[in-house]
């Protein structure tokens, strides 16, 4: 082999690429996602659900039925049974003569709101602790890893029920309890990724530039764990929505008369033989939303990084 050196300085510019702005990994992922029909369908459903939640008051306005208004004449039989879907109450009424359509719309606010807020809490706590443990190692890692093990070994629903019954039901406590238990899986995933990333040369490069640990963690390492975090997050939202609905179903949801899906399904239990619409529509809303999030999550996983296909599913 021969190396020809001392040639004329090579400052040749590479042939210009068609785009000036590079297609980053996120954009590529987005392109892959856009090609995924199932995921895009799910995304449309989710966006619609979000619109329903945001514009819940419009439903109340158009129907003229506030979410908590009881219609004892038009909305209930003399024996107090719900009325089936009709021109006044498109999806029928519940056991207090309230409009199920309007309540589902308002319920979407709670389901999605709790889903998003509790998931955000989970993500923030899980990512920060996972980053710290994986990056700093040592005692910090030891403590956080133990904590993760402990939290993962706790039977979540039982403890959640116990905590909520002690503190009394409410939105904040529901979010806190869910966040308190879901962060561990997230932290474990992030920690694993960071353990591997911290040995990469670009981390060393940043350090040689004089970057602090904090900067390296959040500027250099964090963007590289976002892919699994995003996938896990999309899959976590439906789990959180179900947990919130379960707590509500068990009477640990929002105090009456707030409308939320789990609570509506719980109220409908006693009427399933006589009022199918009462149990069906809130259940459908819950089912469609969670399925949409799950399918989107699968799509995002495939789009973002096929390698993390074996990622544990949120429990």
């Amino acid at each position: 082999m021969t190396i020809r050196v001392r040639e004329a300085p090579d400052r040749r510019v590479e042939p210009p690429a068609p785009d000036v702005v590079g297609r980053g990994p996120w954009e590529l992922a987005w392109r892959r996602l856009r090609a995924d029909k199932v995921a895009m369908g799910s995304l449309v459903v989710i966006v619609l659900m979000v619109l329903v939640a945001v514009f819940a008051p419009v439903f109340a306005h158009v129907t003229g039925h506030p979410p908590n208004m009881q219609y004892h004449r038009e909305g209930l039989t003399p024996d107090g049974l719900p009325r089936p879907p009709n021109s006044t109450f498109v999806l029928g009424t519940d056991d207090l003569g309230r409009d199920i359509l309007v309540r589902i719309a308002y319920g979407a606010r709670i389901s999605l709101g709790v889903g998003v807020l509790a998931t955000m809490l989970t993500v923030v706590v899980g990512v920060v602790l996972g980053l710290l443990a994986g990056f700093l190692r040592g005692v910090v890692d030891l403590v956080i890893a133990r904590l993760i093990d402990v939290v993962l070994s706790i039977p979540f629903l039982l403890v959640a029920i116990a905590l909520v019954s002690v503190s009394g039901p409410g939105l904040t406590i529901t979010i806190l309890v869910i966040g308190m238990f879901s962060w561990a899986s997230m932290a474990r995933i992030v920690r694993g990724q960071v353990l591997f990333l911290r040995e990469r040369e670009f981390v060393e490069a940043a350090r040689s530039l004089g970057a602090s640990d904090l900067r390296i963690m959040f500027v250099d390492v964090l963007p590289n764990v976002l892919a699994p975090v995003i996938v896990y997050t999309t899959l976590l939202i439906p789990v959180v929505i179900i947990v919130q609905a379960t707590l509500s179903f068990l009477g640990l949801g929002l105090p009456a008369p707030a409308a939320d899906w789990g609570g509506m399904i719980s109220e409908a239990q006693n009427y399933y033989t006589v009022a199918w619409w009462f149990v069906l529509f809130p259940s459908l809303a819950l089912l469609i939303t969670t399925i949409a999030f799950n399918l989107l999550g699968d799509g995002v996983r495939d789009a973002v990084d096929p390698r993390i296909g074996r990622l544990v599913r949120p429990r």
Binding site: N68, M69, Q70, H72, L76, T77, P78, D79, G80, L81, D95, L96, G97, S165, G168, P169, G251, P255, A256, P257, E267, Q269, N270, Y271, Y272, T273, V274, A275
Partner: protein
């Protein structure tokens, strides 16, 4: 009457459980009792399905309706309620030869002495069979306050029967052994209950009590043969060796699993006007779930005839009512459940609820029919507009506060609250019924500018942390809440509503159940007069006045007198619902020939 509270809480707890589901009772088909009894077929096995056991297999101690249901088969009382449609809350003679009156000399002129004669030929199934005697009645009454397991309802008559309190105070100090208990019963006289000769028993009361005959329907006053003294009262051993004077006897009892009753050879139909005893055998299976019981009763297998301790599941009640199932019965409970309590000592809103005008305004603002509707409709929850349910003597139908929200608003303004107020509503959020009533009240009161905020409570805390804790009421933890009440006996039973609920300080929690701390000298006086009246019509009128007075003072907002749902299989005939044990009378049903096996 100091321990009303504890006992009532238990009773309300039971009804409350029903309330937390769909409603306390249901509506629909009406009785199926129409079958002509001339065609009645004898024989067969009556299979009763349940999910639980009797409280005690001991007539003098049992206090729950499911215990009373089993006792109907093998234990007789001096007086009881007959399985005759329309008369199921009218006491008639059972062991007694007649209902005592002043006219027939059974009640003394002063109304304080009751002389009752026991039928000749009513026999215990001892070997040889033996006549039921007056001494047996005395022994039975004495057993009610035994130290091992006293009867829970003794406060109903502790100060009524002469010397009973003293007798019981002494009994409480006796060792909890069969011999010590037998010794005390044999040697210690009870001046208020005396045997005169073999079959005449005389009760001496401290004051007249027109309700006394109705009270004697309580199984606690059943006679007790000398044999039972060999065992501890209410013990399992006793339950497995009971001596019977009814048409059936307890053949085997496996607690929480099964009870088998077979015919009692010593019983003679001629001495028992109450029990027709058509079936040969009664088997109670206590290991079936509520849903499964209903399913079996509806499919009509020969091994499932009627329920034992379980009503139809609330989830299925609306369906059964909707299709007007003829095997469903909705029966009287003579209770007020739920009712809305006003916390008259709440400091909130400058003590607004202490002002009768505010409470009256709320009575006008609330719409009872809407509440009854959401509780399951007026078939299951007929409106109750006053204190006493219709089957209690002294009850008349009146409504002081027909819904009128405009008037309510005016009254509120006149009382100094033109801009309304905020009230805290304590309710059990796990109870569907409570939650529905809360939400309905919230909507109704918002119309007159009163904001209602919920104070949700777990079932377990509702009484123990809130209603029975005086400081919770006095510090204004709640302004409005829901409670329920049922009578211990039927007929002349107004006392068992007014004394524990509305009699001023003696009825305050934790001992009493006057959760709103209602205290009115006028009411207290009426209660005193009514409970010591000598004449039923007089006492009835006084109770009615007391009812008006309490409603005038707007102490509570009654909502409904709920109906109890019971279901039986199609092969069961002459199923008559008896309020005292909240089920069909098993001693009077008969089975279609061919489906009476199993």
């Amino acid at each position: 009457m100091r321990t009303w509270g504890g006992r009532r809480a238990a009773l309300v707890g039971v009804c409350g459980l029903v309330l937390m589901t769909a409603a306390c009772g249901s509506s629909g088909g009406g009785g199926s009792s129409g079958s002509a009894n001339e065609n009645a077929s004898r024989g067969g096995t009556l299979n009763m399905l349940g999910a639980g056991d009797v409280d005690y297999m001991d007539p003098n101690i049992s206090y729950y309706s499911v215990g009373y249901l089993a006792l109907r088969l093998w234990s007789r009382q001096l007086f009881t309620f007959p399985a005759v449609s329309g008369q199921t809350t009218t006491a008639v003679p059972d062991l007694a030869t007649q209902v005592p009156t002043t006219g027939n000399g059974g009640i003394s002129k002063d109304g304080m002495t009751y002389t009752i004669t026991i039928r000749q030929g009513a026999m215990w199934n001892t070997t040889p069979a033996r006549q039921v005697t007056a001494a047996d009645v005395v022994r039975g009454v004495k057993r009610t306050c035994n130290p091992a397991q006293p009867f829970g309802g003794t406060p109903d008559f502790a100060t009524l029967i002469q010397g009973y309190q003293t007798f019981c105070d002494g009994f409480a100090k006796v060792a909890q052994t069969p011999s010590a208990i037998a010794g005390y019963i044999d040697k210690t006289p009870l001046p208020g209950v005396v045997a005169q000769g073999d079959t005449t028993v005389v009760f001496h009361l401290n004051h007249p009590a027109t309700y006394f005959v109705d009270m004697l329907t309580l199984p606690a006053f059943s006679p007790a043969p000398v044999e039972v003294l060999k065992y501890l009262p209410a013990s399992q051993a006793l339950g497995q060796h009971e001596v019977s004077d009814g048409p059936y006897q307890v053949t085997t009892w496996t607690p929480t699993k099964e009870i088998v009753f077979t015919r009692n050879a010593a019983w003679k139909a001629s001495t028992d006007p109450i029990r027709k005893a058509y079936v040969d055998k009664v088997v109670v299976n206590e290991t079936v779930s509520q849903d499964s019981i209903q399913q079996q009763l509806q499919t009509g297998t020969a091994s499932a005839d009627m329920g034992f301790d379980q009503a139809p599941p609330p989830s299925q009640l609306p369906g059964l009512i909707a299709k007007k199932d003829k095997n469903l019965n909705l029966g009287e409970t003579a209770s007020s459940n739920p009712y809305l309590v006003f916390n008259t000592v709440s400091p909130n809103n400058r003590g607004a609820l202490g002002d009768v005008r505010v409470r009256q305004a709320l009575e006008y603002a609330l719409n009872r029919s809407d509440m009854d509707q959401v509780l399951g409709g007026q078939t299951v929850n007929p409106p109750l507009t006053h204190i006493l349910p219709p089957d209690i003597s002294g009850s008349t139908d009146f409504n002081l506060y027909p819904t009128d929200q405009a008037k309510a608003k005016q009254m509120l303004a006149a009382a100094g609250y033109p801009h309304g107020m905020t009230l805290k509503f304590l309710y059990r959020n796990a109870s569907e019924g409570s939650s529905k009533v809360f939400q309905t009240v919230q909507q109704q009161l918002s119309n007159i500018g009163v904001k209602v905020v919920g104070v949700p409570s777990p079932d377990a805390d509702f009484y123990t942390k809130y209603l029975q804790v005086p400081s919770a009421a006095r510090s204004g933890v709640w302004d409005l809440s829901l409670a329920g009440w049922g009578a211990d006996w039927y007929g002349d039973a107004a006392l068992s509503f007014f004394a524990p609920l509305f009699s001023g300080p003696p009825s305050y929690p934790p001992l009493g159940s006057n959760y709103g701390f209602y205290d009115s000298p006028k009411t207290n006086q009426l209660i005193q007069q009514a409970s010591t009246a000598t004449d039923q019509s007089k006492s009835g009128a006084l109770w009615n006045q007391a009812d008006h007075q309490v409603m005038q003072d707007a102490a509570i907002f009654p909502i409904t007198n709920p109906q109890q749902a019971s279901y039986h299989a199609s092969q069961v005939h002459n199923a008559i619902y008896i309020p005292a044990f909240q089920n069909f009378d098993p001693a009077n049903v008969w089975l279609s020939p061919g489906t009476n096996g199993g």
